[in-house]
């Protein structure tokens, strides 16, 4: 008997892969509103429904906020629910992300990340997702269309786990991942037959559609109970690392390998390490190769799971390094560092690490990060005295800017 093949090859961009995952996860309700560059996910899902490859209700909403609320209600009604957005759309639906977390709605949200107005810009950065990093959702950053698919599938499994019951956000850069065609693996029909029973159907402990057991959802909670509900929500987040490990271990064994918290490149013996989110990791790897050829021991880390932040793993990976560069594609204007850098410094502060960390801001609004800039940034790590007293990140590639790498 030949072993059944779990996957087939599929050439597609990030948005198409997100839609394929929605089909293979047997999503029930999709509520979305058009916004560049994520719109194709909903369009493709519409095609899948038309071809009867997916049995779902795709709601035409009148706005992003409405779409977010529709996902709230669908999830509270016990449906497997997907939402898709970018940029202004994410900010317009912002309050719903807090609602999903507080009301324990395991909505999976795909975000093709994009700069935020003003000025108006449709290209990539992480300003949108970073502005809502504390809303209570699990956050994964995908580096390619393959990971958009993988994390969407795993997102439902992890988010709907009874120990978790929290929203799950898959972030991938607009156009650079959402619109770039790559060769990918997707589940074959046999793979789907194995995956679906493992994923199961979403069983909400209490649904508003259970007419025999009526509930109140979203009622008023005053100071006498509010903090306990928030503690409960945060307790769900504390369970996430273990649930991710279980899910990614199974998936890696049964289908193909997936990352669960971080991805590393030549970090073990590295003296200087760069940390980044998403597909810019490829640029870091190129820089590491170039630097290693010149005898500089460089390495790179990609934070895959940003919420919950892999504190222990980061502490372990960076122990004993000479210096670290953190690349942020978002800012916290007036703050001591940009979001990823702030989190990373916090993670290191209470460890034994004395490693100096330098923050860089790059690529706002989709500006290309040049390899030479990355290499220079690494090289600057050798001279911490020159930057150790910086009180804010160094902006890379700004015409007329005064920051010096």
């Amino acid at each position: 008997m030949t072993k059944k093949k779990m996957y087939e090859v599929f050439e597609a961009d990030g948005n198409t892969m997100g839609a394929a995952a929605a089909v293979h996860a047997d999503t029930d309700v999709v509520a979305a509103y058009p916004i560049t560059p994520c719109t194709q996910v909903a369009e493709r899902i519409g095609d899948h429904i038309k071809r009867k490859e997916l049995d779902a209700e795709c709601l035409r909403m009148d706005g992003e906020d409405s779409a977010g609320a529709a996902c709230t209600a669908a999830s509270i009604a016990g449906s497997r629910t997907l939402d898709i957005t970018s940029s202004q759309g994410l900010l317009f639906k912002a309050q719903n992300l807090y609602f999903w977390a507080g009301a324990r709605c395991p909505v999976v949200l795909l975000v093709a990340t994009r700069a935020v107005n003003a000025p108006c810009n449709i290209h990539d950065d992480f300003s949108d997702v970073m502005s809502l990093r504390d809303a209570g959702q699990i956050m994964f950053f995908a580096k390619n269309p393959q990971e958009v698919y993988d994390f969407t599938l795993l997102g439902f499994k992890i988010a709907e786990d009874p120990r978790v019951q929290l929203p799950f956000e898959v972030c991938y850069r607009g156009f650079k991942v959402s619109h770039t065609m790559t060769i990918n693996k997707i589940l074959s029909p046999d793979g789907v037959k194995v995956f679906r029973p493992w994923l199961g159907t979403y069983k909400r402990p209490q649904s508003v559609l259970d007419f025999e057991h009526p509930i109140v959802a979203g009622g008023l909670v005053m100071p006498d109970y509010y903090i306990e509900t928030k503690y409960g929500q945060n307790h769900g987040m504390r369970q996430v690392p273990a649930v991710i490990k279980e899910a990614t271990n199974y998936f890696s064994k049964r289908f193909w390998p997936v990352f669960s918290d971080t991805e590393e490149f030549m970090v073990d013996d590295a003296e200087y390490v760069a940390v980044v989110l998403g597909d810019e990791f490829g640029m870091m790897k190129d820089a590491v190769r170039q630097l290693r050829a010149r005898g500089i021991k460089a390495g790179a880390i990609r934070v895959v799971c940003y919420r919950p932040f892999p504190v222990k793993k980061i502490q372990k990976l960076l122990a004993g390094k000479l210096a670290v560069a953190v690349f942020d594609q978002a800012i916290s204007s007036g703050g001591p560092s940009a979001p990823l850098c702030s989190d990373l410094r916090s993670a290191l502060y209470n460890s034994d690490s004395k490693t100096p960390v330098r923050g860089f801001v790059y690529g706002l609004g989709g500006r290309t990060l040049e390899l030479t800039e990355v290499v220079q940034s690494y090289e600057s790590l050798k001279h911490p005295k020159k930057w150790i007293r910086e009180t804010e990140p160094c902006w890379i590639g700004v015409r007329g800017g005064s920051d010096k790498i």
């Binding site: 009148d62 706005g63 609320a69 209600a73 008023l220």
Partner: protein, 330 residues
């Protein structure tokens, strides 16, 4: 005689203000639920949530209630319909496919409907699910302390219009039923209130709302608010009666027949009998004098004339109620 079985989803612990018409409004609009129908109630932020649900207590019994963010009750209602449909198809419903009917009932105030939630409300009406949308309207944001809304009567005093200056003369508030009827999918829309004069009006319209299941339904219920309007809690019913008599609160409904919405008057005030103005019969001052919020209006003869003209025009104008509705009593 057999005892009538009453659906009573709101029980003890309803913390509305004394004299508030909201609890009666809710019980009346839900009274039309047929026995073969399961419902979920979606409540927009406002007095209703605060008065019925402060954890761990609830006044709701025997029916699930969902309170989404303020402006999105209509969006949530659409999604509940979609969820029910897809779970029924996939045999995922918690109680199985029972063969019973399912309706979503929305309870939303005028702020949630006329103002912040108008876009989502319009979206819901356009998508066309047979949701019963109840707008309980007291003409202000009462829960946050009586700020003016798109439904506040001209020249009324509110927290944000302390001198009674709300909008320019010859400009009234929004007409929710007209907005609603601009959406072709709407199956039924009615304007009603509580009164001793026509006590069954609201109950009949509730039954009609549940009977119309081919598209969205609006019940626009004028709900007197003793605190916001400034009258004694015991006077709520007499205020309602006067609102009907003076023509300030017209009672009518519209039904979809073919592609048309056919409008019917449910009460024709004597003032407009025969489609002509009887200026001495129940002038608007009779109603205004019952409420503190019209204190400034009553002192200004020009405003008074403007408001009386607005009410009369609502009935007798070129596109007024008498022109729009089928002949009264037909």
């Amino acid at each position: 005689m057999t005892q009538e079985k009453i659906f009573e989803p709101l029980t003890r612990g309803f913390a509305a203000c004394s004299g508030c018409m909201m609890p009666g409004m809710a019980r009346a609009v839900l009274s039309g639920k047929p026995d073969d129908t399961d419902i979920v109630v979606v409540v927009a932020s406002g007095c209703f949530v605060v008065a019925t649900d402060i954890y761990p207590r609830t006044a709701w019994s025997g029916v699930s209630m969902l309170h989404p963010n303020f402006e999105t009750a209509a969006s949530a209602a659409s999604a509940l319909c979609a969820s029910y449909k897809v779970q029924k198809r996939k045999h995922h419903l918690p109680n199985g496919n029972t063969g019973r009917k399912f309706r979503v009932v929305v309870l939303a105030g005028d702020g949630a409907t006329f103002d912040i939630g108008l876009g989502p409300y319009s979206g819901m009406l356009e998508r066309g699910e047979p949701i019963i949308y109840v707008c309980y309207d007291n003409g202000a944001y009462s829960n946050t302390g009586e700020q003016s809304s798109g439904s506040t009567p001209s020249h009324a005093i509110t927290a944000t219009t302390p001198g009674g200056v709300l909008r320019s003369e010859k400009a009234g508030g929004k007409d929710l039923v007209s907005i609603t009827l601009s959406h072709p999918a709407v199956a039924y829309a009615a304007r009603t209130t509580f009164s001793t004069m026509l006590p069954n009006d609201i109950k009949e319209k509730s039954a009609a709302a549940f009977a119309h299941d081919t598209g969205p339904v609006l019940l626009h219920v004028i709900t007197p608010c003793p605190r916001g309007w400034g009258f004694k809690p015991s006077d709520a019913y007499s205020v309602s009666d006067l609102a009907i008599l003076t023509g300030e609160c017209p009672l009518y409904h519209a039904e979809k027949v073919g592609r048309d919405h056919i409008m019917h008057l449910d009460y024709l005030p004597e003032r407009y009998l025969g489609g002509i103005l009887h200026p001495d019969v129940h002038p608007i001052t009779e109603l205004l004098e019952t409420q503190d919020r019209f204190g400034d209006l009553l002192k200004r003869l020009d405003w008074l004339a403007d408001y009386q003209e607005e009410i009369d025009h609502r009935w007798l104008g070129r596109h007024g109620l008498i022109a729009k509705c089928e002949p009264y009593g037909s």
